[in-house]
């Protein structure tokens, strides 16, 4: 009996050690960065390079409004040296995680708590706050990450935060940022040039995430499949939308990766439109592993969808 119990104990210890060995821990000197979304993960990786180990709390194709605050996420945040989030009222699940992770360094107001909304000019700020308007965002539309200019501003915020938390490697962060910014600006010119012939073209979305993207690339959003943000589409609303699309000659639908594809397909079939799977975050669709690839995909998909229908249709 004694031998057996010692044996069992030995197995337990060995198993725990094996499990511990497989847990990834940052190497000595590396910052442990936790982000809410893969877009910030990608930026942190670009700017931090060998000095950071980054983890995202959600995957790219998920709906950022509906992430479950689980103990594993709290655990990930417990050891974080830097926490990057969208701010505003987009990720309400973060409040619970911050309370539960017991990591003082990343609490609101601390230097290691990075609000990516710094410097962003918000669109669609509501005049009236009421649930009768649906799932309203009270500060304005929080999907600002879909504008490449805002992504550059977010990268600056992350760079400044990295320099503050890890001053020893500040020059490296600056260097990485400059290199990335050059690449990003060059690509931005290219994207704007590609989209110039399609300025004024009309599109339809599923959820209200398009204002920043559409304004940057000169597109006009004529409606959304959801009658109000977060409200399930009704039959009468989809009929109205289809009629509007036909009337205004809108042939492109940008559908979020987490949306009800059956409803979107129904609308697109009746309106004769092309559906583009529209990820809101890096990694939401295969081949969008970083910010540049992400916008490359968005722009190329739109160019392909618009095809030869260049010019604004009125």
């Amino acid at each position: 009996m004694k031998t057996r119990s010692w044996r069992n104990f030995g197995i337990l210890v060995a198993g725990s050690l094996i499990l511990l060995a497989f847990q990834s821990r940052p190497a000595m000197g590396q910052l442990n960065v936790v982000t809410t979304t893969p877009t910030y993960l990608s930026l942190a990786k670009e700017l931090g390079a060998e000095h950071v180990q980054v983890k995202s709390l959600m995957k790219g194709g998920r709906n950022v409004h509906n992430i479950l605050p689980t103990p594993s996420k709290m655990l990930a945040m417990r050891n974080a040296d830097l926490f990057i989030h969208s701010g505003l009222d987009l990720e309400l699940w973060v409040t619970q995680l911050l309370r539960g992770c017991r990591n003082r360094r990343i609490q609101p107001g601390q230097p290691a708590n990075v609000n990516a909304a710094r410097g962003i000019k918000l669109k669609q700020v509501p005049m009236q706050i009421s649930r009768s308007k649906g799932d309203l965002h009270i500060y304005g539309n929080p999907h600002y990450q879909l504008d490449p200019i805002n992504v550059i501003l977010i990268a600056r915020t992350i760079r400044d935060a990295l320099k503050k938390v890890d001053a020893a490697n500040a020059t490296d962060y600056d260097r990485h940022y400059k290199k990335w910014e050059r690449k990003m600006k060059k690509k931005l010119v290219e994207w704007l040039k590609k989209m110039r012939p399609y300025k004024g073209m009309k599109i339809v979305g599923y959820h209200n995430v398009l204002p920043y993207f559409a304004d940057r690339f000169g597109l006009k959003v004529i409606g959304y499949v959801e009658p109000k943000p977060g409200i399930t589409p009704t039959a009468s609303h989809t009929v109205e939308l289809v009629n509007k699309m036909r009337k205004e000659g809108c042939h492109v639908m940008l559908v979020n990766t987490w949306a009800n594809q059956a409803t979107a397909r129904g609308v697109s079939q009746r309106a004769g439109a092309t559906i583009i799977a529209f990820p809101e975050w890096v990694g939401g669709v295969k081949g969008t592993g970083d910010c540049i690839a992400f916008f490359d995909y968005q722009v190329n998909s739109l160019v392909k969808a618009f095809g030869g229908k260049a010019g604004a249709k009125k």
């Binding site: 989030h85 701010g87 505003l88 009222d89 973060v94 409040t95 911050l98 609490q107 609101p108 107001g109 609000n115 909304a117 710094r118 410097g119 962003i120 000019k121 706050i129 009421s130 649930r131 009768s132 308007k133 649906g134 009270i138 500060y139 200019i149 805002n150 550059i152 501003l153 600056r156 915020t157 600006k185 931005l188 010119v189 704007l192 040039k193 110039r196 009658p227 109000k228 409200i231 399930t232 009704t234 039959a235 009468s236 095809g307 030869g308």
Partner: protein, 601 residues
Amino acid sequence: MSCRLLSIFFVNALIVSFCCDQPLLAQKPRFIPPPSKQRTSKASNAGKMDWINAETVKSGDSLVHHSGSRPKEAALRQKASVSELSKTRPANRRHKDRLTQLAQRIEQMETRHRREIRLLSQQIERLQGQLQTRRVQPTRATIVRERSMKSMSGERTPGILHVSKQAGKKRLKQDPARKQKKVPRSSDDQSTEKSIEELLQEGESRRAVKPPELGAGLGAKLSAFNPNISLIGDFFGVTSTAPDGNGRSRIPLGFFNDGDVDTFSFREIELMGTAAIDPYSDALVKLAFNNGGVEIEEAYALFHDYQFRDQLPKWMQNVQTKVGQFRMAFGPMNLVDEHDLPTVDQPLANQRFLGEEGLIRAGVSFSKILPISEQWTSELILQITNGEPLGGEPGSAPFAGIEHPLGLLHYELSRDYQPASDWKSRHEAGCEPRLQDGRRTLTLGSTFAATGNRVETSGENLYSLVEGLNATWQWFDPRPDSYRQYLLQGETFFSQLDQANDGVRFDAGGYFLAQMRFKRQWFVGTRFDITEFPDRDGFQTAVTPYMTYFMTEFNRLRLQYQFLHQEIDGAGRDNAHTVWFQLVFAYGAHPPEPYYLGARF
């Protein structure tokens, strides 16, 4: 043995072929790959996309793609084979339909493919155009490689004696003629870069401002979604010659503090919260705090729209649904909170037939507005609720249903009369407004309510039916500087209660109220009550004159006198004189105003 096996196999093949409607030896589709010379670079194929320009034909159920070189002949061949097949096979309607469907599908695919090919061609042309305008600059590695190849082949490059890696690189650096020329950017690109820099500078200036933070700041802002909260205090002082409520008098006990007929007290403090739940529904919660504790006066969700509205039959689409605990639609007085009544107390008939605090139950209510004509509208309300009040209180007759729900049907007609067309000219001439000059509303309603009462000893079900009629007439002075208003209102109640001894008890009651607003802040009126008791023999009559002074719309004072005469079998005759003083104040979000104010203060 082998012959037998072969024959079995052959028979099986025949059977399978018959069932699947396939020829025994089906024609295999031939795939003809595109010609190899047409698979060169895209540039040379520009405009000659024959190998994608597929003609699709059908053979039975299979699709065959032929190269573009002999499309028509192949198509004709295949079509001929199809027509032959269809002729030789026995007439099969289903097979022909399938063929037709396939043909249609193929046509659609052809159209789509042609469009795609056209788009691709245009894209290629565009790219070719861009390629020609761009000058391709050799990289340094290319130059070094070319030089080394030339030197190996014996070619002499002027200015260079020998080629070595370092020397080559050094000369490339020193030779100004070999400097790589930068690709000149177009003016469009330059202006785009400039605007990008300007936007980034704007963003940089905004980064100095702290953005909204999670935590306390977010919590404070999210409080914008909190309900509209208002608090209403109903304070009174009363003195009366009426005896206490110890079986002899039915003066409402709520006005007396433990039997003391001279008292000041709060009837209730009402906390009310209203908010939109979502685009389809609103919520209302009223909590009443009084000497007995706190109780839920009303709490319900009101659905004014439905997500599944389109799936409902048309007649149901405009039905409004209320779910929760609410004041039932038995006449206009029962719908009004006690602090909003035109008088301090409820009419005596309402107290006897609907309960001292009114008829409040938990259940479901459906209402629908039915337009009748341009002038008249009507509303139909159906309510199904518990027979008993919440909290297990027995309730009072006639609505003391045990185990039986209470059903109520209310129908109301209303009309708005607009002022006479010439009233303005007469007003300018200084004439007093006539009756027909004012804005008038007339409301006529009827209510039918039924519930049951089960006798525990005998298990017998005794039913209670109560019918009511109501009429309200209001007149508003049309002159904008005048607040003169008249209100005439009356209700009657008729009850039929099954008795345990197989009898039916009939009782009736009612009131009539006349009120005048002679100044903006002043109301005077009188109420006449006469009512029987639904659960005993006897009657009460009362005359209740009163005066109300609205200091502001949130603060009102009232003085009321009541002369009550009652005769109750077994209790004799009683007269009582009661004087009330009442103060009602409201603060918080703007609470709803009493109906008799006419939304005008």
